[in-house]
């Protein structure tokens, strides 16, 4: 599993969901959490490649989660950052779009602590295998 001192970026335009995701992460022992309000704000914070994990909402104004993901994957400093998308919808065409953009996992709302933990474990395993 990811180390507890990993830097995590939580992106959501809704304050409530940023709080919910951050609380779950803290409950799981992760304390280094930064929040961003949309894809543009997130990119400004993430572009130097300092985050070990990004958890981003999909539907956001200005720059969506998938648009942000594409920017992350296109930049050498951030291209290999584990990326998890959070969405309220799980339609086939959206999943395909996210996978094509390079997402590692996606979480469908509503979700529990155990549900998010399971997805984090899958993302970690994927990168651990790759190494």
């Amino acid at each position: 599993m990811f180390k507890n001192d990993i830097n995590i970026l939580v992106v959501d335009d809704m304050l409530t969901m940023r709080k919910v995701v951050s609380k779950i992460l803290r409950d799981l022992g992760y304390m280094n959490i930064t929040q961003a309000t949309d894809g543009n704000d997130a990119w400004e914070k993430a572009k130097e490649g300092t985050f070990g994990l990004i958890i981003s909402d999909w539907n956001m104004p200005n720059c969506t989660g998938v648009e942000f993901l594409k920017r992350v994957r296109a930049e050498a400093k951030t291209a290999k950052t584990p990326f998890l998308l959070v969405t309220a919808e799980a339609e086939q065409h959206q999943i395909v779009e996210a996978v094509q953009a390079g997402v590692d996992q996606y979480v469908v709302k509503p979700f529990t602590t155990a549900g998010l933990q399971e997805k984090l474990a899958m993302v970690y395993k994927k990168y651990n295998k790759a190494v």
């Binding site: 809704m14 409530t16 919910v20 609380k23 709302k109 529990t112």
Partner: protein
């Protein structure tokens, strides 16, 4: 002596003319309509024989206008073309919806009834599921009902989503009392919430987003083609939610240990 013949078909109140529509007939139309409930359409069948007398036009217009205020629709069946043209010239064609066959609006009723169960159930399931998982809040759905004029329930915060798509046009709102909403937010955020402030308002929108997202996934599998929508939050004491639609608004009631809350779906199909 009855000037009109009254029948009820589905949610249609049907009046057949037995003579020209004069002031007496309009008065009878209004009083007989007043006696009925659970209808959404009133049809006056002129049998291609009868006229509306000039003196009755104003009262008939007022009757149609009164129906519209009550979210009901007035139709003229088999009306003389000259009368329809005259109403159109006066700009009143929307008050007097001319139809040539009752099946035109009966199909509408049938179509909507077919959609009801398919359309409402995903919202019920998504609401119970979302509140259980995201807010650790147990609730049970009650029986969906058509909202009528007498419906009254305290609402302190509501999230509203407007939807336009191929299969559905209308709006959906979820309405909570302050007590229930604060409990939901406290459970969801893991911190005690004692008042609804601006920072917390988006919580109602987010809950509706999640519920809508789940229901949308199911409904699109059924071919509704719902698209993304953005919620609006309304907050205040003793709010009244009204969906502007000529069709029925459905109430989906939910019960919990802290009382009841409900969802409204105002559909135009």
């Amino acid at each position: 002596m009855a000037l009109l013949k009254k029948n009820k078909v589905d949610d249609i109140l049907l009046f057949g003319c037995m003579k020209d529509v004069d002031l007496g007939a309009v008065s009878e139309l209004a009083s007989e309509t007043e006696k009925e409930d659970s209808f959404t359409k009133v049809v006056l069948d002129m049998n291609e024989l009868y006229e509306v007398t000039p003196s009755a036009i104003r009262n008939l217009s007022l009757f149609a206008l009164d129906l519209r205020k009550k979210n009901k629709v007035f139709y003229l069946l088999h009306s003389p073309k000259a009368f329809v043209r005259m109403m159109a010239n006066k700009g009143l064609e929307k008050l007097f919806n001319a139809i040539d066959d009752l099946s035109e609006i009966r199909k509408e009723v049938k179509k909507r009834k077919n959609i009801d169960v398919n359309f409402l159930n995903p919202f019920i399931e998504a609401t119970v599921n979302t509140l259980r998982i995201q807010c650790s809040f147990e609730s049970q759905s009650g029986k969906p009902e058509v909202k009528n004029e007498s419906f009254s329930h305290p609402v302190d915060i509501a999230g509203v989503i407007g939807i336009t798509s191929e299969g559905f046009t209308g709006s959906i709102s979820i309405c909570f009392t302050e007590k229930i909403f604060l409990t939901l937010m406290s459970n969801m955020l893991g911190e005690e919430c004692t008042e609804i402030n601006q920072d917390m308002e988006d919580g109602a929108g987010e809950l509706l987003n999640i519920i809508f997202g789940q229901a949308k996934t199911t409904l699109n599998q059924l071919g509704y083609s719902l698209e993304k929508a953005i919620p609006t939050i309304v907050r205040g004491r003793e709010l009244k939610v009204k969906h502007i639609t000529p069709y029925s608004t459905f109430i989906l009631p939910f019960e919990s240990q802290l009382g009841s809350f409900y969802m409204e779906i105002g559909a135009e199909v």
